[in-house]
Structure formats: C-alpha cells, structure tokens
C-alpha cells in the first residue's frame, strides 16, 4: 500500500468530481435546504396562537373576561362558537386544538359558591398543539379560581402576609436541563440535521462505489491500486471523508455557534462526534454495497436503513417505549450513538468520561465492512453481478 498509489486514486476521484460535480453540489444543496427548512419551520421553537374553541353559554362579564384573558395568552387564540355542535365539528376536522365549554349560570354560580363546572375537550391527535392548549386552559382556570379564593379570603379577613401561603401552599421551581426554553427547534434541528447528513453520506457513497460496478470501471480502479481493495477504498474515501467532515462541522457550527443553541460542553468534542458519525456512516455504506454488490439493490437498502435510523435515535420516542425485544435494534444505527454522545456533551458537558462508550460504538462500525471486503473485491474484479 504505497502513498503514491493512494494519491493516484485520490486524483482519479477528484477527476470524477470534476466531470460530475453533482457529487459535491448535491450534498451541499441538500444540507443547505434542510438547514433552512428545519431552522425556519419551527420558528422560535414554541407555537403561538393555537386556536382554542370557546362555547360561552353564560356570556356574563366574568366569562367574557375569562375568554379575553385566554385570548391574550401567547399560546392561545380564542375562536368563539354559539353551539357545541359547531365547535365539535371544527375540532373533529383538526381546526381546533381544544374546546372549552363555559356552562350557563357560570357567573351567578361562581358568586354563590356553587362550583360551576368547566368542561374541556382536548384534541390529542395533534400532539403539540393539543398538549400546549390544554396546559394554557388549565393555567387560566386555576388563575380564575385563585382570584375567587382570594376574594373570599380577603372578605374573611385573612391578612395579606398569609395570603400567598393560603392560595399557593406549594410551588415548583422548574429547571430544564439542556433546553431551558422548551424549544422544539433545538430538540429537532440538532438531531434532524446530522440525521440528514448521515442519510446523504450513506446514499452518496453507495452510489459512488456502485457506479464503478455499473459503468464497469471498477476493474480499472482495482488495477490502479495494485489489486488491493483496501488501497482503492482508502483512496476513494479520503476526498469524501474530508468533504463530509467539513460539511458536518459546518452543521455543528451552525447549530451551536450561529443559532446559539445551548451547549454545556465543548464544540470541539461535538466536532469529534461528527467525525465519528461520518466515519461510521461511510462504513455502513461499504457494508451495504459489499453485502449486495448491485447498485440498484444496495441503494434501496441504504435508503431504507437511513430513513429507519431517524426513528431509531430515540430523541422523539425514547427507546424504552419500544417492545423489549426490539430495544437492542437501535444500537445498529450510528445515529443513535451520535445522539447519545450529543446528549452527554451538549446537555451535561460531561466530557470524555460521559461519552467514551458511544465513541467506541461508533468506531466499532468500522469493523463489519472488513468481512465483506473480499466479496466486494471479487465483484469489482470479475464484474459478475447484474450491472444495475
């Protein structure tokens, strides 16, 4: 394995890039588009003005005040209905995140301590909107309820020094580690962008290795590298590794430096995480094309694998929710380990002690391709698989 040979292969690959610049332009364009999409789509990370349907059967000053206050919250936007039927219809068709029913006689019951009952219907089909508007409604009801309590207690002569303790005996002081603003943007973008890159790497490399077979240039490549598949792969992969690693680091800089996503640890370690993800994804590509050295088949497999890995990371649905028998499955995906590494570094800033196991896992992905190298070599040499 001489350096000279490797250099020649690298030059050959760069020549391919020059002839077909799509290898460079497409990943750049994809990552740019996705960055713009994920970072702008979720805006500030918390939705505002969620449509909440109100059926006010009381229409008193108190109930109107309640509706106005609810409308003034950042989360909610009130849509008024005359009948529950109409409101239900709009909730059923997904136009409302929740419906709140104010009973008739609400005000007079409230004044006479007869406990008028509010009824809330939550639209649980649209998760984020439903959960948030539910929270908004509950806060507003508790506030209104608290105001009534305060009135009565004041009338009973409770001194103002004791009032707070009477109204709110327990308070929760909430600390959100790693995402203090509860931003969906931070949660999603910091995983979807590396996820997209991983997908791009797997597909482009399967394609790069597969086209050698498809256009029958693989034998020439092998001859150029003195018949060594390892030399051929190293030479072919050096330019890609440099390119994808740079692209990945750009993603990290974009997330944690330009977008100011909170990071407890160091950006440098996240760069390392990214480098490991790039290498592991490349290894997956080699493994897939080596296992089935047919370009069309391997590409479809790579596509299925990389789409699946988005659901396997566990940043939306934690792995422990999966059936026990499937819980080992996510470990087969590099993105899962990237995510666990990221949690350690970004949320806790725990450094090497926290993520060394994930780093080892990512490195371990470099081993399986070795098993398929002989097969890939023979396919490259004999060209004895279907061309497409």
């Amino acid at each position: 394995m001489q350096l000279e040979t490797i250099k020649n292969i690298i030059l050959r690959e760069l020549d391919i890039w020059k002839k077909r610049p799509i290898y460079v332009i497409a990943p750049l364009a994809i990552m740019a588009f996705c960055s713009v999409f994920y970072l702008t789509f979720l805006g500030d990370g918390l939705p505002s003005d969620l449509p909440i349907g109100i059926v006010d059967n009381d229409n008193s000053s108190v109930s109107r005040n309640f509706v106005r206050q609810l409308d003034a919250t950042q989360l909610g936007k009130v849509v008024r209905y005359d009948s529950f039927q109409e409101a239900r219809n709009d909730m059923q068709t997904g136009k409302l995140t929740s419906v709140c029913l104010i009973p008739s006689g609400f005000n007079s019951d409230l004044q006479a301590n007869r406990q008028p009952k509010m009824t809330i219907y939550i639209n649980g089909l649209y998760f984020v909107g439903g959960a948030l508007s539910w929270q908004d409604l509950l806060t507003m009801i508790n506030l209104t309820s608290g105001a009534v309590q305060k009135q009565v207690l004041e009338a009973k002569g409770v001194p103002s020094s004791q009032m707070q303790g009477m109204l709110r005996p327990i308070n929760i002081d909430l600390h959100k580690i790693g995402n203090p603003l509860t931003s969906y943007n931070e949660c999603l973008s910091s995983n979807m962008l590396p996820g997209t890159l991983q997908m791009v790497i797997i597909l482009f490399l399967i394609y790069a290795l597969g086209t050698e077979l498809k256009y029958g240039t693989s034998r020439e490549l092998l001859e150029k590298s003195d018949g060594s598949i390892i030399t051929a792969l190293i030479g072919k992969f050096v330019p890609y590794t440099v390119f994808f690693t740079l692209l990945g680091m750009l993603v990290e800089v974009l997330l944690y430096s330009w977008m100011h996503f909170p990071i407890a640890g160091s950006l440098g370690y996240m760069m390392l995480d990214m480098l490991l993800l790039v290498l592991a994804s490349e290894a997956c590509a080699v493994f897939i094309i080596g296992l089935i050295p047919i370009c069309r088949f391997a590409l479809s497999l790579g596509a299925i694998f990389s789409v699946l890995s988005l659901s396997m990371t566990g940043f939306t649905l934690p792995v422990e929710v999966m059936p026990r028998i499937l819980q080992g499955f996510p470990f087969m995906f590099p993105l899962r380990h990237y995510y666990l590494f990221e949690v350690q570094e970004v949320m806790f800033g725990s450094g090497f002690a926290g993520w060394w196991q994930e780093a080892l896992w990512l490195l371990a992905f470099l081993i399986p391709p070795i098993a398929v190298l002989p097969r890939l070599k023979s396919a490259y040499f004999k060209l004895d698989y279907p061309k497409n």
Binding site: I22, A26, C34, T40, P47, Q92, T93, G94, N113, R114, Q115, K117, T119, I120, G124, L125, Y126, F127, V128, G129, G130, W134, L138, S145, V148, Q149, Q164, G165, M166, P169, I170, I172, L174, H175, K176, G178, T182, Y184, C187, T196, V200, Y207, R296, L299, S300, L301, G302, A303, S306, V307, L308, S311, M312, T316, L317, P318, V321, M322, P323, M347
Partner: protein, 392 residues
Amino acid sequence: MGYLKKWFADALSVCRHELKRISADSGVMVIFLVAGLGYPLLYNCIYHNGVLEDTPIAVVDMSNTAHSRRYIRKVDSTRELNVAFRCSSMDEAEALMRDRKAKGVVYFPPEFGKDIDEGRTATLSIYADMSSFLYYKNLMLGANFVMLDEMKQIKIERYSAGGMSDQEISQLIEAIPYEDNNPYNRTFSYSIFFLSAALLLIIQQVMFYGMSLLAGTAREEGRSFTHLIGRMHGPGVGRIVLGRGAAYWLLFMIIGTYIACLVPAMFGLPQRGSFLDILVLLLFFVTDCVFFATAWSSLFTKRETVLVALLFISPIVMFLTGFSWPVTAFPKFWRLFSYIFPTSFACPAFINLNTAGCDLTQIKDLILCLTIQTGIYCAISFVAAYIEHLRD
C-alpha cells in the same frame, strides 16, 4: 367505437408492460415490498406501546418530613413516574442523571416541611432531562398532579384553621372544577398520532421513489415510456400516461387498502371512520399520488438520482402534514410549499376520518383540494410526456 376499443387495448398493454417492468426490477421490488409492506409493520412494532410509563427519577429529600415523604410516595404511585433512586445529596442525583439512569430529579429543600407547617409557600425544585420531550412531559404531569393534590389537602387544613366550615372549604378550594376529556387519544399515545400521519405518507413516498426509479432507468437505457407514443395511432399521450398510471394505481389501491385499513386493525389503532369512507379517500389520494409521481418522475434521467438526491425530503414531507407542529404555526412560505404534496391534504383527512370519526361531508374541503391537485398534476403529466415525446 373501433377507436375506443383500440384505445383500451393499447392502454391495457401499456399497463401490463409497466407491471412486468415493476416486477422485474429488484430495486423497485425491495422498496415496494420492504418499505411499502414492511415499514407499516415495523413502525407499528416500534411505536406499539406509544406511552412512556414509570420514568425513573431520583429524589433528594433534604427536608425529610412527613410532608415531603408523603409527596414522594404519591409521585412514586403516579403512572408517569417511578422513584427509582433516593439520594442524600444533589451531587449524587446529578451523577445519576448524567449516567442517564434517572431522567429527572425532585429536590426538597431543608425548609420544605417547616414552610408548610408554618403556613408559607413551600418550594420544591425539579430538574428535567430534556433529551426527549416525553421525559419532560412525564415529569411535569406527575409532579404537577401530585402538587395539585397536596395543595388541596394543605388548603383544607389551613382554611379550617382559619375558621371556615367544611362546606365552605370544599366549595372554595375547587371554586371552578373542571373536567377534561381527550376523546381521540385518551392517553396521549405517541403511536396514535405518529402512525396516523405516517401511514399515508408511506404510500405516497414509496410510489414516488419506485416510479421515479423505473422512469430513470428507462431513460438511461433510451427506452422511456414516451417512446411508445409514436407507435400509437392518433394522439397516444393519453393512453400511455393513463395506461402506465393504471399499473401503479392498481398496485397501490391494494397496498393502500392494506396500509390504511388492515394495518390499523392488526395493531389495534383506533378505526372510528367507516370502511367505505376511507376507501373513497384512498381513491382520491392514490389517484392524486399517481399523477404526482408521474409529473415529478419526468425530471429524472438517471435511475439513482431520485433516491440519492431526494430521499431527504421524506421527513420534511412528514412535518408538512402538520402532525406534530400545528399547521396554524407554519411560516407562510412552508405552508405554500406543503401544497406540493398530496399528503398535506390526505393525512389530515385520514386522521379526521379514521381517528376522529368524521364522515366524508366533514372533510369535503380536503377532498376538493386533492381533486384540484390531481387535475394540476394530471395536466403536467400529459404535457411533460408530450414534450419528452417531441424531443425524441
């Protein structure tokens, strides 16, 4: 009459020809079988439970009073949380969180019990692991639920010490009682909301990638389906586009019925809509998808391009269905962008029909959008095929 007969015979042979090509292509068959038939099963297995229960948390009780101990017992008995660790210091709890053994910490300061005994507001602290929003949700729900319950008890004690009668107290502490219902997704199950949107998306994306793969392959080999146009008597564009579309339409009405009707039944997802209504929606949706895929697949001159360059769009299209981020919060541009995809109308329609139990009249606007979209993509498909034919 003779022309009509000929027309159908031609279209039928194009359809048969396309079906043959589909079955002969290993790459396309992998996508149709593994992704089309397998993904729905796999996603159902992964997301089958959908509800996270007994999230392990650590408790640091510096107060160590009857109040804090009762609070901890109640937290432990909620469905959402499990007090897995009792720590003697915050450092210990933090270490457990860093090791990802505890997904949250509840901390009672030394003065907690005293504050309650002396009628002040007692504050406890919660530290939440935000790596998944479901941990956070569980911690909030569990701790808040217990807080409300505890507050009620403490208020009863304090109010009665203030000289109120039992009746007054019970009326006052719940001045406005409420009843909450979550009719469509009672436990806020992740699977119901995720899968309802994912199922139709799979139909659309699988068809799009499969058709584009084949169109690209044919063009690479210099035998695009539009070559057949020249062989027809009279204007052949209609027969070719519709005949080819019919092949996919037939295939995906079968796959679609499997995905939209059989899979939810197999996994016990809610099926509140009528079977016929869902079939009607599928008719509109699959037809729309056929023309959507035909129109876009005319862009690909190479087999691999579509998978390599456009796979990244799938998760984006998923978000554009509005299943998680509410449609009303979409930035305007992305809202317009979402109109490109049939699923942006069909997924809400399916969710409304299947899970919320709507009938067809309630989703007629969405069906209308699908129809308009079908018309536009149909026109584009015809024009694109004709242009390609002229070019050859």
